[in-house]
């Protein structure tokens, strides 16, 4: 009995820590401005309104930022998965001199936080002539997701018996078809985990977007939403509405494939 009480008490505390701040954000976003500043504050809005969301879409470039974030994140996921599954396949199914050393070197690049190389990175991107483009963001995110995704997929490919592939080859498939129809489907949990990790990194990034993007119409959500604080009077209802809009895709995505994600995390760790 005492044990159950302790467990559920602890569970309740954890629930409040994890979910309450987000619930409060949603509640504020749904309140009319008068109620937002009321004392005492109301937990459940007395009047539910969407006016904060309407203002967000009508008076700011939120929709543009949102579109940019979606485009950049999806392009990053596509590019990262293609590049890293090719690389990880090479690291598991081909033998060549220096293979393990290359794998080690790739892991080493994982140790460098973006802030440590952002200055040369910026100068390089500028010299390549792609500063202030979405392409620059996609390339940055892909590069910083690669070490993790390569190692994650490598461990998944390792666990797929070579015999399955060989069987497909014996049956007359060429290597490309064997990989596409046999290896990749079996590595699907790994691909999903890598995809989620990549999406979240691209969706959440602030530093690269801050440094590499200057024009308003190319900004992604984190930088665009931070700009909302530059107004003379901070519109909390609208800002919380923006917070809800940014959070929903992440949480929806995450809930949909949670079990794959945990599996992937166990295999390789996370960064951030």
């Amino acid at each position: 009995m005492r044990r159950a009480l302790a467990l559920y008490g602890g569970g309740l505390v954890l629930l409040v820590i994890g979910a309450f701040p987000l619930a409060w954000m949603l509640s504020t976003a749904l309140k009319p401005s008068g109620e937002i500043f009321a004392t005492p504050p109301t937990l459940v809005p007395k009047v539910v309104t969407l006016e904060n969301f309407q203002r967000l879409f009508a008076e700011t470039s939120f929709l543009t930022y949102f579109t940019n974030s979606v485009l950049v994140s999806l392009a990053t996921v596509g590019l990262t998965l293609s590049v890293s599954s090719m690389g990880a396949y090479a690291l598991t199914r081909f033998t060549f001199a220096g293979r393990e050393r290359v794998a080690g070197l790739i892991l080493m690049t994982y140790m460098f936080a973006p802030i440590m190389i952002i200055i040369p990175f910026y100068i390089l991107v500028k010299q390549l002539g792609i500063v202030n483009t979405r392409l620059a963001l996609v390339l940055s995110y892909t590069t910083f997701c690669l070490p993790f995704c390569l190692w994650l997929l490598r461990s998944f490919f390792h666990s797929i018996p070579l015999e399955l592939e060989e069987a497909a080859l014996v049956d007359g498939a060429d290597l490309r078809r064997a990989v596409w129809y046999v290896v990749l489907p079996l590595a699907l949990p790994g691909l999903i985990a890598a995809g989620i990790f990549t999406f979240i990194l691209a969706w959440n990034d602030f530093l690269f977007a801050l440094v590499l993007i200057t024009s308003d119409e190319l900004k992604t959500l984190p930088v665009g939403v931070n700009d909302l604080f530059n107004a003379t009077i901070v519109d909390w209802g609208m800002i919380m509405a923006a917070g809800v809009m940014i959070t929903v895709p992440t949480i929806a995505f995450f809930v949909a494939v949670q079990r794959y994600l945990i599996q992937g995390w166990g295999a390789g760790g996370v960064k951030g």
């Binding site: 994890g18 409060w24 090719m86 090479a90 290359v102 460098f112 190389i117 200055i119 984190p222």
Partner: protein
């Protein structure tokens, strides 16, 4: 069968090109930059040798940024560990709603930093924030506290960061907890060991290695954390009360436009981390349990 080594290299080529061009090359270029006076936008540059390093050795702002960085990384690390390990132990027990809770606990870690920051700025708002309201209503303070003012900005930053990053500890620690053989606990229970002794003599030794890694990774991540710190305090005003090394490096490069100096700070950041990591490994090498 077509498993020629050349095909392997070809498949690896895009990865190597990106990592080589956009990580390894910038690392080398960064060291080169740190030896030069370079404007962030203009092509002006001049070789200055180690002058930037000599400058920072005597720069009060550099040392204060190191101090803020150590305070921030140290305190957030300890609090993340306490909260994260307790939560993981709880979530390793069997009770109804456990799986749901395992998902909910991850939310703070999944949401973008910008959301975590605006959320806590709102909760901690001095006039309308829920935190001040509860403190006033509970009689714990007499006047509203300026949580985001210069006296409390570090505490608010630490609170926000711990909330945002403790789920990392939960996930990694829980993953290891689940692999401990239940027989170990059964045997201890037969011997009459209580919950604390079971934790102390079974759980802790079993999870030493994962704790070692968690402490290492989290310290590195927190010491190099830029976005949470920068978003929480901005560039002016109270920002100098939480100006950690990454923020200082950013300001040197992109506010003062001194790319060479910013690069030197990045190198110093790396060297500090390297030294700390070496000390950490050496200090724990004696324990044969730690790989």
């Amino acid at each position: 069968m077509n498993r020629h080594p050349l095909v392997g290299w070809l498949l690896l080529a895009p990865s190597l090109l990106l990592l080589g061009g956009l990580v390894l090359f910038p690392i080398v270029y960064n060291v080169w930059l740190s030896l030069h006076d370079k404007h962030a936008f203009m092509p002006v540059q001049a070789f200055v040798g180690l002058r930037h390093y000599v400058y920072f050795a005597q720069d009060a702002e550099f040392w204060s940024s190191v101090r803020y960085g150590v305070i921030y990384a140290g305190l957030t690390l300890v609090l993340q560990l306490l909260l994260g390990v307790s939560a993981a132990l709880l979530l390793n027990e069997g009770f109804r709603g456990r799986n749901l809770l395992r998902g909910v606990v991850l939310f703070p870690y999944m949401i973008p930093t910008i959301v975590a920051v605006i959320l806590w700025k709102w909760l901690l708002n001095d006039s309308y924030g829920l935190v001040n309201h509860l403190l006033l209503a509970g009689g714990l303070v007499r006047t509203p506290v300026a949580w985001l003012g210069k006296d409390h900005i570090m505490e608010s930053l630490i609170l926000t960061s711990v909330w945002q990053f403790f789920p990392f500890v939960v996930v990694t620690y829980l993953a290891r907890l689940q692999t401990i053989a239940p027989e170990l606990y059964e045997a201890a229970k037969v011997d009459g060991a209580g919950a604390w002794r079971r934790f102390r003599h079974i759980t802790l030794p079993q999870t030493r290695n994962v704790l070692f890694v968690i402490v290492l990774l989290r310290s590195i991540f927190m010491f190099t954390k830029f976005d949470t710190v920068w978003l929480m305090a901005g560039e002016g005003g109270v920002s100098r009360y939480v100006r950690t090394l990454p923020v200082y490096a950013y300001a040197r490069s992109f506010t003062y436009l001194q790319a060479g100096m910013g690069a030197a700070l990045a190198v110093l950041m790396f060297l500090l981390l390297l030294a700390a990591t070496a000390v950490y490994f050496r200090a724990l090498r004696g324990d044969e349990a730690v790989a």
